[in-house]
Symmetry: C2
Subunit: 338 residues, 2 copies
């Protein structure tokens, strides 16, 4: 802990000197080892080991114009699904020698732009962003600095970038259709905040269009917009219960909201699914283990992360012929609550 002001960190030149070779040879021995004689490589490795040399990647990236970093932006980390995706992205990146830069924009596009600016200042080799909605300035920066960019979570042919995910619209449509097919007539909807959130918007659109495709009309009083928290889901449910007498089913656009709604029902001695059926979205582990188990949409978060990381690396390597839209699908998990 004592700050030694004239401490000099070990450099490649120190390693080279100890190994009795030139700095470039040392550099090559440690990175592009096929260019040096095995004996030389061993000498250099021994020297590096001896000195506990750890290369300065700032110097490296300045020289070879590759930072070996990938920037990832999610709306929030306080949400298992985003955290899981980051986990799967980072663990795909690490064995390839890439470091993840993680940022969360708290559902704010301006903050996303700021984070992108930071990532560019670190010369991230690629970006992985959530969704299609970004500020104009952010898009311009990405274009100007030519950062390969992958969008995760939702798919759309309107996006400028390669995207990896599933159709939130289609999933919500199918879930709603399924609920209708089960005979529910008055299906409420608790959705996430719509502003700047294409996922929420698409899920709501799926709900609406499924209703309409039956020839029914969508009743706005059956719909609630809610922050992404248990408590907000509970509040939305309470509101639905008081305003809609004949409610027989609720589709919540995420398991968190569904769970909040479920708690609210328990509090009011409303039996699920007997009195009111319930469906969620995301397939979180709570929903799966809870009794009654939550009917929901299972989304391959982990595979999305893997695929996004894979594509980011391929873009960095300059590969071409990568599909613009990568639909990884979803699963309708019919369980107890509907």
């Amino acid at each position: 802990m004592s700050t030694n002001p004239d401490h000099k960190p070990v450099t490649i030149r120190d390693v080279a000197r100890l190994a009795g070779v030139s700095p470039i040879t040392a550099s090559r021995a440690l990175s592009k080892s096929h260019l040096v004689k095995p004996a030389t490589r061993k000498k250099v490795e021994a020297a590096a080991n001896e000195l506990k040399f750890i290369g300065n990647s700032a110097a490296g990236s300045l020289s070879n114009r590759r930072s070996n970093m990938v920037g990832i932006i999610v709306p929030t980390l306080s949400n298992a699904i985003f955290a899981d995706t980051i986990q799967s992205i980072t663990s795909s990146l690490m064995p390839e020698g890439f470091q993840a830069l993680v940022g969360s924009n708290e559902y704010c596009l301006q903050r996303e732009e700021d984070i992108i600016r930071t990532f560019i200042s670190h010369r991230a080799d690629a970006l992985i962003l959530t969704g299609h909605t970004h500020t104009q300035a952010a898009e311009e920066l990405i274009a100007q600095y030519m950062i390969p960019t992958v969008e995760i979570w939702n798919i759309s042919d309107k996006s400028n970038h390669i995207c990896v995910g599933m159709s939130n619209y289609q999933a919500a449509f199918e879930m709603t259709s399924f609920l209708i097919s089960r005979g529910y007539k008055n299906i409420g909807y608790i959705g996430g905040i719509l502003e700047n959130n294409d996922r929420s918007q698409d899920r709501m659109r799926g709900y609406r269009e499924a209703i309409e495709s039956c020839g029914w009309s969508v009743d706005p009083s059956m719909m609630r917009e809610s922050a992404y928290e248990f408590a907000s889901g509970a509040a939305a449910m309470q509101s639905l219960l008081t305003k809609s007498r004949n409610l027989d089913c609720v589709f919540a656009s995420s398991d968190i909201l569904a769970f909040g709604a479920l708690m609210e029902c328990q509090r009011n001695d409303i039996r699920i699914p007997h009195d009111i059926a319930l469906a969620g979205f995301d397939n979180t582990s709570i929903g799966a283990i809870h009794k009654p188990a939550l009917t929901t949409i299972s989304v391959p978060w982990q595979r999305i992360g893997l695929k996004a990381a894979e594509i980011a690396l391929r873009l960095i390597r300059g590969e071409t012929g990568i599909n613009k839209i990568n639909d990884l699908g979803f699963d309708l998990k019919v369980r107890d609550t509907a």
Copy 2:
């Protein structure tokens, strides 16, 4: 998306040329603006703006030997409390111009060491690690490269580093004592994996010593070690239920495990707290909203993140006189389940 091979990113020299000043003046105008005339600063800012200049922080950190990055390692992101802490650390860091490097070691010390090595290669200005347990090599690297390091989550006077957290031992002790004071006689324990995990170890120690301080003896058959998942908590509960006839209370060392245990009880029509009382640890939002609400230990995760970030920044700035142990305390939340 079209790769323009001879694209040159904007450099400070471009900005300087456009502003009609030297590169160093431009550099100063953008970072240490008090050293240039306001008029010059405006000219440079206009030029930088015009060109959408974003400085290359690799070059910057190579020169001034500061990366403006802080490395953070948590066991996993698939856990709300760690994700929340990272969130609070990163949002404290960002306004100060620092970028967080996030890594998760999946409860593996060797992987932690690898991540530390990566962080050092990026010349992180400080590290924030979880807990006190690290490999010998990791400690040596931290010492050799003199990286200011903060440990979060647990406090101990045995650690080499500054730590910010609360006493997991004391919290578990108090919870167990509380359960005893409520008249429970056969208190089971479901703890996390102990290996290389000082938090789990300390919590278990708290449980044991509270039992012993009543003159009772600890019954190993009442204790389970469990992975950090709902399902494992449920399995541990099932095992306790079959092996211990007279079980009247269970203390789970995390809310996730408690929740799994609770689900298992519901499955077996065991009423909580009537038949068996239950307590958790962590105060997650599920436990708070669930009915019955979970009795648990509330830990100030967010304040821990804030404080850790604050201390990391002070260490980077070379401040001294920072407390080695920063105990942020905990709260025993008595709710429905015990």
